[in-house]
């Protein structure tokens, strides 16, 4: 019987029949996965028909939280949404912070599993006693915040938390997102389109149960240690001021800031678009996720636009990556994409790919309904983004993502899509961060850094690298050596962080969580014994499960690679000049560590 930490219940919702069922969460089922992302993947592994249409009623959309979500643990805000991705056709999931996960915890449901398809646009209000199905055809076309505010007003409760889709999700843009807490985005892999395909505008949660831990005093003492470690971290002030946007200059300084669609790694005008500039000129205050005292998010105002964010990925995606030096434009795009519910990385990739291909003469405007666009052409970019959101004109094709769009073009053009397994690449040139390169290649949802976030390779801690990963090179960003071992370690901590749940930017990037303190937190939080060795083992099992699930979707070892550019074309200037990635070597070594067959 699960008494502490967990709500101990699973909620199953069938939208076709408009019915729900409450099941107990079996402790022997949950123990080997803890919760969150690992539990979601296990559910998908056990219940999803791998051949199902990702946008059909059989796809399973899962909202999952972990035993420590919404607890006294700092930044225990995260929740993960999992389904088969319509963008990539493989495992899709995306996590976000904010307040949604903590409120979901108070409903007593650790997982909400949604299947079927409603006959009319509706939203769901989940409370302790179950689900209310509320038809809302009048919400069609509403933005995220409009939807959130409308639900709160209708239900006369302003503590309700809402995860909603915007027009992009309704229009089944394959890289549309789900957004909660106004601006906290489950951005990747098209979870918004899955929700849209089910005619589900929003999932609202409001809890009345209270969360207890097994040993409050022991838990408090572990939490105090972690709070101290965060406050004492050498990057605390920097992160407080700029959040992830600090990476604009940090990445540029080592020559890996994607510029003009990864053609360059140094952006000459970085000072005009940096996190420093943003903090100085447009930020109005700090924002935080649930129970976080780092408060790395920011609220900004610029001209007629305001929103929370942007995070580094969005900032880079709409500045240097598209050859633009217009910071206010990027802030406008961040507000627009969060409002409409669309992933900034994939949106930027489809535009960046077209610009590069047109520059190289591989795509003619006639091929794209007369669309002609070049670097930094912000008015045109704005128009294209709008067309994608509403699937208007050529936007209808672009809304399927860069990889699918490229299928109608030459091989040379197809090679220029910066993706792995159909998921568009994040901002961070792998030629100068090799462990990240390996992470993009092997990540189970496609090109992504968050599956391992091997931040350690940038720390230059040589002695520790030797001790932990067998070679000093693990802390040398330009080396391939030791990176498979580093990634194999980091991916376990990443999965652990996602399963507890906690923010990875803190738990992992700031090197706060490890198997030992997590073991103590879990014991005090849930009353269940988790030895550090057992945690290592079950996280390893979790990585194996991702791998096996993707094999069912048809992935092969050859798919674990990087776009040709990063393997063959060295960067022409800056501190990463001359470097390319020997991805095969790292992937082989990584497979050996996991004892995986090709």
């Amino acid at each position: 019987m699960l008494k502490y930490g967990y709500g101990g219940r699973v909620l199953r919702i069938d939208l076709t029949e408009r019915r729900f069922r409450i099941e107990p969460l079996d402790s022997s089922w949950i123990r080997p996965v803890i919760g969150g992302r690992a539990a979601n993947t296990k559910r998908l592994f056990e219940e999803l028909n791998p051949d199902c249409d990702p946008l059909g009623p059989d796809n399973i959309l899962i909202f999952g939280i972990g035993p420590l979500t919404g607890s006294l643990l700092p930044a225990s805000a995260y929740y993960t949404i999992t389904a088969k991705s319509p963008l990539t056709g493989i495992l899709g999931d995306s996590a976000a912070g904010g307040q949604f996960g903590a409120e979901m915890k108070l409903t007593g449901f650790d997982q909400i599993i949604i299947t079927g398809k409603a006959d009319n646009l509706l939203y769901l209000l989940v409370t302790e006693s179950g689900v209310e199905f509320v038809d809302c055809p009048e919400y069609r076309g509403k933005t995220i915040i409009e939807t959130t505010t409308a639900i709160r007003k209708e239900k006369k409760d302003h503590a309700i938390q809402v995860a909603a889709i915007g027009p992009a999700g309704e229009n089944l843009v394959l890289f549309s997102s789900i957004v909660s807490s106004g601006n906290r985005v489950n951005g990747r892999a098209g979870m918004g389109a899955v929700m849209g395909s089910k005619n589900l505008k929003a999932l609202a949660v409001r809890g009345t149960l209270s969360l207890g831990v097994a040993d409050p005093l022991a838990f408090l003492s572990e939490v105090k240690k972690i709070e101290k470690a965060i406050l004492g971290h050498n990057e605390y002030q920097k992160r407080y001021k700029m959040g992830t946007t600090m990476l604009m200059k940090d990445l540029n300084n080592i020559g890996i800031l994607p510029t003009k669609h990864f053609q360059e790694g140094v952006c000459k005008y970085v000072d005009e678009i940096s996190g420093q500039k943003l903090a100085k000129s447009y930020k109005v205050k700090n924002k935080a996720c649930f129970n976080c005292h780092l408060a790395c998010s920011r609220y900004y105002m610029v001209d007629d636009h305001e929103a929370e964010g942007p995070e580094f990925e969005t900032l880079c995606s709409f500045t240097s990556r598209l050859g633009s030096r217009d910071l206010p434009f990027a802030l406008e795009m961040n507000a627009y994409l969060n409002k409409m519910g669309m992933d900034s990385i994939s949106t930027s990739e489809v535009i960046g790919w077209i610009i590069e291909c047109q520059e190289k003469g591989l795509i003619h405007p006639d091929d794209l309904d007369g669309l002609s666009i070049t670097w930094g052409e912000t008015d045109k970019i704005r128009e294209v983004v709008d067309m994608i959101t509403w699937r208007r004109g050529i936007g209808d094709k672009l809304a399927n993502g860069a990889k699918k769009l490229s299928e109608g073009f030459s091989e040379e053009a197809r090679k220029l899509v910066m993706h792995v397994k159909g998921l568009d690449m994040i901002c961070g040139d792998p030629r100068g961060i090799k462990a990240y390169g390996l992470t993009y290649a092997i990540a189970s949802r496609g090109s992504d850094h968050l599956r391992a976030e091997p931040y350690f390779e940038l720390t230059n801690k040589k002695e520790e690298a030797k001790k932990r990963f067998g070679t000093e090179k693990a802390a040398d960003r330009l080396a391939e050596e030791g990176k498979a071992a580093l990634v194999a370690y980091s991916e376990k901590i990443a999965l652990l962080t996602d399963s507890l749940t906690m923010c990875k930017n803190i738990g992992l990037c700031m090197d706060i969580l490890n198997f030992e303190n997590t073991s103590a937190l879990l014991k005090a939080g849930t009353g269940i014994d988790y030895s550090p060795e057992y945690l290592k083992k079950i996280m390893g099992d979790g990585i194996d499960r991702d791998f096996k699930l993707n094999r069912r979707f048809g992935t092969k070892k050859e798919d674990d690679t990087l776009p040709e550019r990063f393997q063959k074309e060295p960067l022409s200037e800056g501190p990463t000049k001359g470097s390319t990635v020997d991805i095969k070597r790292m992937v082989d070594e990584y497979y050996r560590i996991h004892k995986w067959e090709g």
């Binding site: 807490s181 106004g182 406050l231 109005v284 996720c289 649930f290 005292h293």
Partner: protein
């Protein structure tokens, strides 16, 4: 009393979490005596907690279950209380709430409020001037027919709209 500066609030709810954990050993915003609300429509976050208002609107209990303590705090006698809801209705900003047969209102933790320790932004502080009691008369009429959540929202929205006027100016 606890003074709130919403310009510094990040919306993290650490105050709410600390309040319910240290008072009840569990976490839930319903049993917290300080309420953090995120007003996504205007980008404002803020908290609602007993202001120890000049008017003392809640001090109208038909069973005399409410008294004012030496720190100016509202003290509820749970034995005299019949859960009639008069005090909850009377508070213009939703700082008193009845949940699961119990009345929740800030009593300053007997002098050492745990929410203040939890807030790293200095958005909530302990007002030392014991004679300071703000007036809530401006809200009384507007929030008359609202439930506590609606009152909290109305109150914070009014403060928030004022706060927003300063945003661009402060930056410049």
């Amino acid at each position: 009393m606890i003074r709130v500066d919403i310009s510094k609030c990040t919306g993290c709810k650490r105050c709410e979490t600390a309040c319910s954990f240290f008072r009840s050993g569990r976490i839930n915003n319903h049993i917290s005596r300080i309420k953090a609300i995120n007003l996504y429509d205007i980008g404002i976050d803020g908290v609602v907690v007993c202001n120890q208002c000049k008017e003392r609107y809640c001090d109208c209990c038909p069973k005399n279950a409410i008294t004012i303590g030496s720190l100016g705090q509202v003290v509820i006698s749970q034995t005299l209380c019949t859960l009639c809801g008069v005090c909850e209705k009377a508070c213009p900003i939703g700082a008193i709430e009845i949940f699961n047969d119990f009345v929740y209102v800030c009593d300053l933790c007997g002098g050492r409020p745990r929410c203040i320790e939890a807030c790293k932004e200095g958005a909530i502080t302990h007002e030392v001037d014991e004679a300071y009691h703000p007036s809530l008369a401006a809200f009384k009429k507007d929030t008359k027919k609202m439930n506590p959540s609606q009152k909290q929202y109305f109150y914070l929205k009014k403060l928030g709209l004022e706060e927003r006027k300063k945003w661009r100016k402060n930056r410049a």
